[in-house]
């Protein structure tokens, strides 16, 4: 493998494998309204990640024990295509996807005006078509756009991004290689209007200071991505 050393914009930071600055996001593209059958949908490419999200609902909850008398519930299914990773993934949920589905639903919860739809259900299907590090954040970002595309009333559009520690440096938006070889990964989702945090994980070893730095950096990344989300909806609806 050849390590590409790019100088260019990397002012004041150690080189990252793909030449990005410490606070630089990978290329990002979001399209809203890409599926026919779903009530809302979005397609996102983020570095090597390719993610498709469909929303169904609000509709009557067919799982009675999940019904809430005063609001809708969000059900999420994060799924990786068998061909999305180097070694074929067996179809069906595994422990990782079950956990991500849970925290994704929680991350989206406070952004949606669920009280408008008592006893109903909103289903979020996240398909990772190709994975290259950071799929859970990319899934959340795309899910918000799909939710808006479905016309579901929202307080804000949740947006997610990770920061982490790689080669001793706190950097934004870890690629697959950085995630694997790095020291820590901190995925964060926020409500951009208030800056409140709706998803937070940390995996790896960080001092309290490093953690705070990573958290700040991730929040900045979220704010940049938030603009791309809005752009996607503008492109679709001309709003």
């Amino acid at each position: 493998m050849i390590i590409i050393i790019t100088l260019g914009t990397n002012v004041g930071t150690k080189a990252r494998e793909d030449g990005r600055a410490f606070d630089e996001l990978r290329n990002l593209k979001i399209d809203a309204g890409v599926l026919e059958r779903a009530d809302g949908s979005a397609y996102l490419e983020f570095g090597g990640n390719k993610i498709l999200v469909a929303i169904y609902g609000p509709k009557e909850s067919y799982i009675r024990r999940l019904q809430r008398p005063d609001r809708a519930v969000i059900r999420c299914r994060y799924n990786m295509a068998p061909f999305s990773v180097d070694d074929r993934k067996r179809p069906g949920p595994d422990r990782r996807s079950i956990e991500i589905s849970k925290i994704t639903a929680e991350a989206l919860h406070s952004s949606v005006i669920l009280e408008k739809y008592p006893r109903s259900m909103i289903e979020v299907f996240i398909e990772v078509l190709e994975a290259e590090g950071g799929t859970r954040c990319a899934g959340i970002t795309a899910a918000s756009v799909a939710m808006a595309d479905a016309g579901i009333p929202m307080r804000d559009m949740v947006v997610a991004c990770a920061a982490g520690k790689v080669n001793g440096e706190i950097v934004l938006d870890l690629s697959e290689v950085e995630d694997k070889d790095g020291e820590a990964d901190v995925p964060v989702a926020i409500l951009p209007r208030t800056g409140q945090i709706t998803l937070l994980q940390s995996d790896g070893n960080l001092s309290a200071d490093e953690f705070e730095k990573a958290l700040d950096l991730a929040i900045k990344g979220c704010q940049q991505i938030s603009e791309v989300q809005k752009e996607a909806l503008k492109n679709r609806y001309g709003v």
């Binding site: 599926l35 026919e36 059958r37 779903a38 949908s41 090597g48 390719k50 498709l52 999200v53 469909a54 169904y56 299914r77 799924n79 295509a81 068998p82 061909f83 999305s84 990773v85 180097d86 070694d87 074929r88 179809p91 069906g92 949920p93 289903e123 299907f125 398909e127 078509l129 190709e130 994975a131 290259e132």
Partner: protein, 262 residues
């Protein structure tokens, strides 16, 4: 279960009995077809096909494995399909249901019986190590006629598939990920699906047409014109004449479809 308002059923049927379709197509006309190959970098082969709004991605991944005991000199094809719940409100998460199983088995038979993939070339050490090609059919948007879209996407993905070079030394397989070669392919085969509605057969049924069909017939035909697969579906019968007529149309239409593979 698919319940269609009686009035919709009648209007579609009446039109078809007058040789017309809701979307203006001829009886034997496909919707618009698009095909992109190599869209998933991490898959050794991939393709996305849209027929109308129906959308399918197929990924092909080779993996070293053991041959079946009764075919020690042949590689292995494994075809799996996922009717993703994102593709339709009637698809549910969980293990493949009978629709999904039928889809992947029919596509698998079409590929297998056409002898498109040279399975002998996929044998590395007879009886011990062969290439297994996993074909994963990912159904993203369901607007009718999954069968033909799936066959087209699968063949395109196979044509796009690269496998690593292998050498055998001391009974160990050495795999060279840097040096890839295309999958050894022979014939091609694609499928054409007909729906019987009213008294007529229509090609490439849309979702609304599928919901009211009385019978369905899918026909797989090879580039050399052989019938390699056939599958009737639906609760109602077909006449022999209808079947032979469908075969005739499929023979022509398959050759048209094959142009998308070039």
């Amino acid at each position: 279960m698919k319940i269609v308002p009686e009035i919709t059923r009648k209007s579609i049927t009446n039109l078809i009995n007058q040789q017309e379709r809701v979307d203006g197509r001829a009886m034997d006309e496909f919707r618009e077809i698009s095909l992109e190959s190599g869209i998933i970098s991490k898959a050794e082969g991939s393709a996305r096909v849209k027929i109308g709004n129906t959308q399918i991605i197929v990924g092909a991944k080779p993996q070293l494995g053991e041959p079946f005991p009764d075919t020690p000199n042949l590689g292995v094809l494994i075809t799996n399909s996922e009717l993703l719940p994102m593709a339709s409100p009637t698809f549910e998460p969980g293990p493949p249901d009978e629709r999904s199983v039928e889809l992947s088995r029919v596509v698998d038979r079409c590929i297998r019986e056409s002898q498109m993939v040279d399975l002998e070339e996929l044998c590395i050490i007879p009886g011990k190590k062969v290439w297994m090609i996993f074909l994963d059919l990912h159904i993203l948007d369901y607007d009718g006629n999954l069968m033909d879209a799936a066959a087209l996407a699968t063949v395109a993905a196979l044509k796009n598939t690269q496998i690593p070079n292998t050498q055998v030394e001391d009974n160990e397989v050495i795999m060279d990920q840097e040096e890839m070669k295309p999958l050894p392919l022979k014939e091609e085969a694609l499928m054409c699906t007909f729906a019987k509605i009213g008294d007529e057969l229509v090609l490439d049924p849309s979702l609304d047409e599928e919901k009211i069909l009385s019978a369905r017939l899918s026909i797989g035909i090879t580039s050399s014109g052989k019938i390699c697969a056939m599958q009737k579906g639906g609760d109602h019968p077909l006449t022999k004449e209808e079947i032979l007529k469908a075969v005739k149309i499929a023979e022509v239409k398959t050759q048209d479809l094959m142009k998308h593979l070039e």
